[in-house]
């Protein structure tokens, strides 16, 4: 009996050794570049995370067949929570040994950045308004930065003759904070006045006292910088308080799947996706791409393009080589626009748009 067991074990080991040797030496096998992706696949903004996941997979499927490398996406769910994002990033680096990291949104991006920098792994965030996510030479952001949103927002306020506003901002969301800070910096020499900035933490459900506090200020517009569900609750409670003043935002409305709450309201949003991307995505998944999906689509291409340029197809290029190549990206034609470049801060600069919710759907009203 013992002899049979030992014999079987030896046989298994021999077969495994031969098969693994064959796979190592097979000249036809291309090395695989693993891209680790941490996304909110469950939780309050799961609809955005799932759309980004679809876009990433679509992008991978659209890579030309003659690439020097195979590309593999490894997904992890962070629920849009920084603490989980730190864990998933560590797992992707230390267990999955990924060559690049992709994160989604400022809260998670801000914790993944130092981890990626420390591990010297390329990290691209495809949904962060906070430029701080791109701090360090291994970190990049492919999303319309807060200062671009702020410029367009001020232009739109001036165009509409709006001079007074009140902010409600989720203080522990670096994206919301970056947008409010950029705006406050940009209005210094204008006649626009911020009457009050009401800050609250993620998880706040009752805004009534804060609403009561600013109600008497009678602003011409309320600016809501929050994610779901705080965004919907805030809007609902403003209306319940009898406030019929319009609400607007930089970037926040499309976090919600209840857009009818904002019917008729204008807002500033990140760059629009290219029509060809919208068609491709819609044809593939039978639904429209959500907010940030086009940026996610570009991320795989940006990484693959850099890897293909610096790699010899036999060995996996080092992170330093990929980083160097990525930082030199110029004239990239992507799903968010043509002729995109990465600036010296690691940001892919794209221009925001003004949108409006019409019949429960976002419609771009000016570029």
């Amino acid at each position: 009996m013992v002899k049979i067991v030992v014999g079987l074990v030896v046989l298994v080991l021999v077969v495994w050794g031969i098969s693994s040797r064959v796979s190592v030496t097979d000249p036809q096998t291309k090395p695989t570049i693993k891209i680790g992706v941490t996304l909110p696949l469950t939780g309050d903004v799961a609809m955005l995370g799932k759309s980004a996941k679809n876009a990433l997979e679509l992008s991978k499927s659209q890579l030309p067949p003659n690439t020097k490398y195979n590309y593999e996406l490894v997904f992890e769910d962070d629920q849009f929570k920084p603490s989980l994002g730190a864990t998933t990033a560590q797992k992707l680096i230390s267990i999955d040994h990924v060559s690049a990291l992709v994160s989604f949104g400022s809260p998670v991006g801000n914790v993944v950045s130092p981890i990626a920098q420390n591990a010297q792994i390329i990290h691209i965030n495809d949904f962060a308004s906070a430029s701080s996510v791109a701090n360090g030479d291994y970190n990049f952001v492919h999303y319309t930065p807060a200062y671009e949103d702020s410029k367009l927002f001020i232009t739109e306020l001036n165009k509409r003759g709006i001079k007074t506003l009140v902010f409600f901002g989720q203080q522990d969301n670096p994206g919301a904070t970056a947008l409010i800070n950029a705006f406050e910096k940009d209005i210094v020499n204008t006649d626009i006045q911020v009457l009050s900035v009401q800050k609250f933490n993620t998880g706040t459900r009752d805004f009534r006292t804060q609403i009561e506090k600013v109600k008497s200020l009678n602003p011409e517009i309320y600016v809501l910088e929050a994610t779901s569900p705080e965004l919907e609750l805030l809007t609902k409670q403003l209306r319940e308080a009898g406030i019929t003043t319009p609400v607007t935002t930089m970037e926040a409305f499309e976090f919600s799947d209840q857009l009818s709450l904002f019917e008729g309201m204008w807002y500033v949003n990140g760059a629009d996706p290219m029509p060809w991307f919208v068609d491709l995505y819609t044809k593939t998944y039978n639904e429209s791409p959500k907010f940030g999906a086009a940026n996610a689509y570009d991320v795989v291409n940006l990484i693959a393009q850099s890897v293909e340029k610096v790699g010899d197809g036999k060995t996996i290029p080092t992170s330093a080589q990929i980083k160097q190549q990525l930082a030199e990206t110029k004239g990239f034609n992507g799903a968010v626009g043509n002729n995109l470049s990465i600036d010296s801060d690691g940001l892919v600069i794209s221009k925001p748009v003004v949108r409006m919710i019409k019949d429960g759907k976002p419609v771009t009203i000016s570029q």
């Binding site: 469950t42 309050d44 009401q198 609250f200 459900r205 009752d206 009534r208 804060q210 319940e240």
Partner: protein, 283 residues
């Protein structure tokens, strides 16, 4: 401004006191911190949501089903877990860990069944304006239901044989058993009633600010803080604690900033733990 602030505080206090009422009722007899209490309440909210939004049932029968579901959930948690631990004379720490495990498991179950996505009963709520004050129908219902539930529970504990048995178990469970009280049966009922009250808070909270599977913990925390500062295990203390907590939170948000709300509530808890750990009414 100030009358509205008082009204807002009363509304918040109503939800906290409903959680504290059920929590204190269970604590007064079992003498352990049931951490699954908040998520059991949330089950009431989710069941109501399912019956109204998915099955299209009217709100009143859905609410009744939701309350019963929360009550039954508490009843079965006692029967299947806590009673067995009692029979094994498990330590308080074991009870605490078991309730923590149940809280996590139930929360995960809610996320699997109903998804993690936040759910609103309605994006519009009817509002009444009177004497410069603003109140929604849900808030009126919250205030009225809290008064009814509190009065009902106090009457139950003071004026019925069941209430006497509950108080006797709270005083000494072993003596109660010796004098012939079926403690397991009474405790199961206590769990049913306490959990049903938590269900009421889960439903009212859901109707007001929506539902998310992670809300159970915050619901529980506010109820527990109210219980501790009011006097843990004391039904009246829970109400006083809820009022104090809600007023401190709202005055803080009004005078300083909303982001400080949690600092005020947990700061108040620390102050009580340091200087009056028995709570306002424990003596």
């Amino acid at each position: 401004m100030i009358p509205q602030l008082i009204l807002n505080s009363l509304i918040a206090a109503s939800i906290y006191s409903l959680v504290a009422l059920g929590f204190n009722l269970i604590y007064s007899t079992t003498k352990f911190f049931n951490l699954s209490h908040g998520v059991v309440g949330l089950i009431g909210g989710y069941v109501t949501f399912y019956f109204t939004k998915t099955l299209g049932l009217e709100i009143i029968p859905s609410v009744i089903v939701g309350i019963l579901a929360a009550g039954l959930c508490g009843y079965f948690l006692d029967k299947l877990v806590f009673r067995k631990l009692r029979n094994k004379h498990a330590s308080d720490m074991v009870f605490l860990i078991a309730s923590l495990g149940l809280m996590t498991a139930l929360q995960a179950g809610l996320a699997i069944v109903f998804t993690n996505q936040f759910k609103l009963f309605s994006i519009e709520t009817k509002t009444i304006h009177f004497f410069g004050l603003m109140i929604t129908y849900v808030h009126i219902m919250t205030l009225v239901v809290t008064v009814i539930v509190t009065a009902g529970l106090i009457s139950l504990l003071k004026k019925t044989r069941f209430g006497k048995m509950v108080r006797a178990i709270g005083d000494d469970v072993e003596v109660s058993t010796i004098v012939g009280i079926d403690t397991n049966k009474i405790l199961s009922r206590v769990f049913f009633i306490g959990s049903a009250i938590a269900g009421v808070s889960g439903i009212l909270s859901g109707l007001d600010v929506g539902l998310g599977p992670n809300m159970g913990l915050s619901l529980l925390l506010k109820g527990v803080i109210a219980s501790i500062i009011g006097g843990v295990g004391n039904v009246y203390g829970g109400i006083l604690g809820a009022l104090l907590l809600a007023f401190i939170e709202n005055i803080g948000a009004w005078q300083i900033s909303g982001e400080w709300k949690d600092l005020f509530s947990f700061g108040l808890l620390i102050v009580f733990l340091l200087f009056r750990p028995q709570g306002i009414l424990r003596k």
